[in-house]
Symmetry: C2
Subunit: 276 residues, 2 copies
């Protein structure tokens, strides 16, 4: 099977790494020639192309690892092999799929995906197949998908190391992701920026602060695009969070020891069963 | 030097482990005989006592690793060696020190401390000297402290593995800790409890959600005591956080891409320089 990964950044680079040894012919497309050269030298791709037109027209599977708006641009400007599958790693789906499906030819199938794995750092040098190990993957099913294509993708990503593969609609995806991924990023940014800066903060932190702010180091262009195009769900998740936060504040203000403990027991119970 | 660690839970247990090999005579006091037996068998303590009266009266340094209210109780009910030092690991200081200092005899010195290290789990079996490695330690100085005692404590904890030792007033401590430790715990609880539970959440999370909710598994008794006795500072930290959170929400509602990016760049800049 000829597989081409488009965009050898931290995610695309991890894909080519994870694909090694699985028996496919893997190629890379990137605007950066140095990255292509490195990936080829590392033995992860057979060859790399700045202009992907030729290799894309021969690929059985094209994995596009670009920012959402660039994915659309890439699809519009390339001709894909008849009967081939295109997939992506875009973090939001309803808004995006509507646009993408209009661009994809009828003889090509678009199977949208979301690997719930990533790093704070950008670029090929931070790529690692390890980020997929035991991570969650979501396949986003739409009306034009064939059952066997969904099945193929499910098996394919399992081989890359993902532990759980779930299939859902774009709407459900965007709802759950607004809570499990987008809300945590908003919280981390707000926490980091709410520092009064009266002290040399780094000297007074433990692992809890480190953990909660790691993703405050955020790719501004990518995430503002993701947030703004999912704002209804995200605003609702933010509202639900604030509701809980306000309850904690009220309990604190009213010295309501009992209420605090009930909420702490609830969060402990939920956290413990989270990945069971 | 005779050192007695009172309370061999996750923190006290880590102390006796970290003390191994430093040349002191280390004893343990705990209400649980099994724990004492285990610590002795592990080679971390010379002997263990359920009733600590005799060993405490001979100790040069007593490290009390109990809940805040139990520390006060322990000090009131024991006689400490003349010229010896008592220290603690209590997470809030203004309220606590006021009470503790009234109980301590004039010929004994109380040097309050805060190791910024911990685990979500309770108990001796989760203790590990590793938690102190490269962690931050805060010494809380009060009017009765001698310069040489502060210096002793500073060198002592450095030997246990702490990377940074800072000395500050109880008030400054409680202010910074309300931000770096208490606020993150409140946020984690609110995030965990704001789950709509429409989906099997654990299958749709990445490391960001894992990191932000780890401390939502929280010791309810301990933390409600810590929060309620530091509520002025904590409420102010919560207010500052909400201010930032609301700014993000507004920018989102108004499709203010530019504002979002400015806030993301700011949080990224702050996070990057955090521990430099």
């Amino acid at each position: 099977m000829i597989i081409t990964v488009v965009g050898l950044g931290v995610i695309g680079g991890s894909y080519v790494q994870a694909l090694k040894g699985l028996g496919h012919d893997v190629y890379g497309v990137d605007t950066n020639e140095k990255t292509l050269k490195q990936a080829k030298q590392d033995g992860y791709i057979i060859d790399g192309f700045v202009d992907g037109h030729e290799i894309i027209s021969q690929s059985d599977l094209t994995i596009i690892c670009l920012y959402p708006s660039l994915v659309l641009d890439f699809i519009a400007r390339h001709h894909f092999k008849k009967g081939s599958i295109i997939t992506d790693v875009v973090g939001i789906k309803s808004y995006f799929l509507e646009k993408a499906l209009k661009l994809v030819d009828n003889d090509v199938e678009y199977v949208s995906g979301h690997p719930m794995a990533g790093r704070e750092k950008k670029g090929y040098e931070y790529a690692s197949r390890e980020v997929f190990k035991n991570a969650n993957y979501i396949i986003i099913e739409h009306q034009k998908n064939k059952k066997e294509s969904i099945e193929f993708m499910s098996q394919f990503v399992s081989q890359l190391g993902f532990k759980s593969v779930k299939i859902m609609s774009p709407y459900d995806h965007d709802e759950i992701i607004s809570y499990t991924s987008q809300l945590p990023h908003m919280i981390a940014v707000a926490l980091m920026n709410s520092d009064s800066q009266r002290f040399e903060t780094g000297k007074y932190i433990g692992d809890s602060f480190r953990d909660l702010t790691r993703i405050a180091n955020i790719n501004a262009d990518l995430w503002s695009e993701l947030f703004l195009n999912n704002k209804e769900y995200l605003l609702e998740s933010m509202r639900l969070f604030e509701e809980q936060f306000d309850q904690l504040k009220d309990a604190l203000m009213n010295d309501n020891d009992e209420k605090l403990k009930i909420m702490f027991d609830e969060s402990s119970r939920r956290r413990e069963k989270l990945e069971k």
